[in-house]
Symmetry: C2
Subunit: 153 residues, 2 copies
Amino acid sequence: MITKKTKYAFKALIHLAKTPIGQQVLIADLARDGNIPKKFLEFILLSLRKGGLLLSKVGRGGGYYLAHHPSKITIGSIVRILEGDIAPVQCLSTTNYARCEECNDEKTCGIRLTMADVNVVLSEVMDSLTLADMVDRSEAEQNRLSKVVDFSI
Amino acid sequence: MITKKTKYAFKALIHLAKTPIGQQVLIADLARDGNIPKKFLEFILLSLRKGGLLLSKVGRGGGYYLAHHPSKITIGSIVRILEGDIAPVQCLSTTNYARCEECNDEKTCGIRLTMADVNVVLSEVMDSLTLADMVDRSEAEQNRLSKVVDFSI
DNA sequence: ATATATGTCTATAAAATCTATAGTCATAAA
DNA sequence: TTTATGACTATAGATTTTATAGACATATAT
């Protein structure tokens, strides 16, 4: 289950993905639009910038904008930055490895060997989906629903 | 990332899966063997029993035992009982649905529409793996490693 | 130059969740 | 009828998540 923090990140990123290239958006606007506590969002955006997904301009007329095209920003990269990880157990993490303290023998641990399958599948799907998918699917669904309304008139 | 509670559950279940059919195991033994706080494990085992994965006998000579063959107990069912869920966002959960409070319009939410793919994949893999896999893979790896040692002699 | 708008950074607090413990009760076997 | 055992309730401690405050740095416009 992803945290609120990650959902807030998705919302802000979706807003930025819909913003014309060359324009930046104020933290305050992202916060208001996404109904996100401003100071908390500040911290989230900073993480995303340090993670290489966002760029910023300081000073008057400043704001945030995407570092890459939405189709190049994977859901996996976002989750890794904010949750620290994708792996279901920390002993399988590449970005944030740690030995599980409850574990006797990592090499033969049945939990680890089995969760490895989960980890592979989860990484694959999260790295195959992008911010552009989030935007596109939402818009496609909006169109589909508005058509249904049209027919019913 | 699964919690310690779920890892403790896996350890206890693996112990029970290795126990001959017809025998029950004391909470105290499961706790000692898995290095798990006994009272915490008590609560975990109770959850697993209420979830239908375990059976128990009360009184002298009592203890816990599996309600089904290890190959019939999926990783997904275990995680659902202890984490409450598998879904990456609660608005996609079947066992524990709730509207995401940050969400404006669930039907067209891009986060939800995209995470739905993650949810499907995650459910599939977790429901395809079983407690028997955990036991088998661990034993297979133990055998493989002991053979490697043999060759080096 | 200077005032103003804006992101950056550090520190801390409030809330929620996870982990752990204590104690009493119910049940079954010896 | 004593003893071993799980069942249940309550609560406390630890950790993580969420949120806020305030001082600072930087760039733009006048």
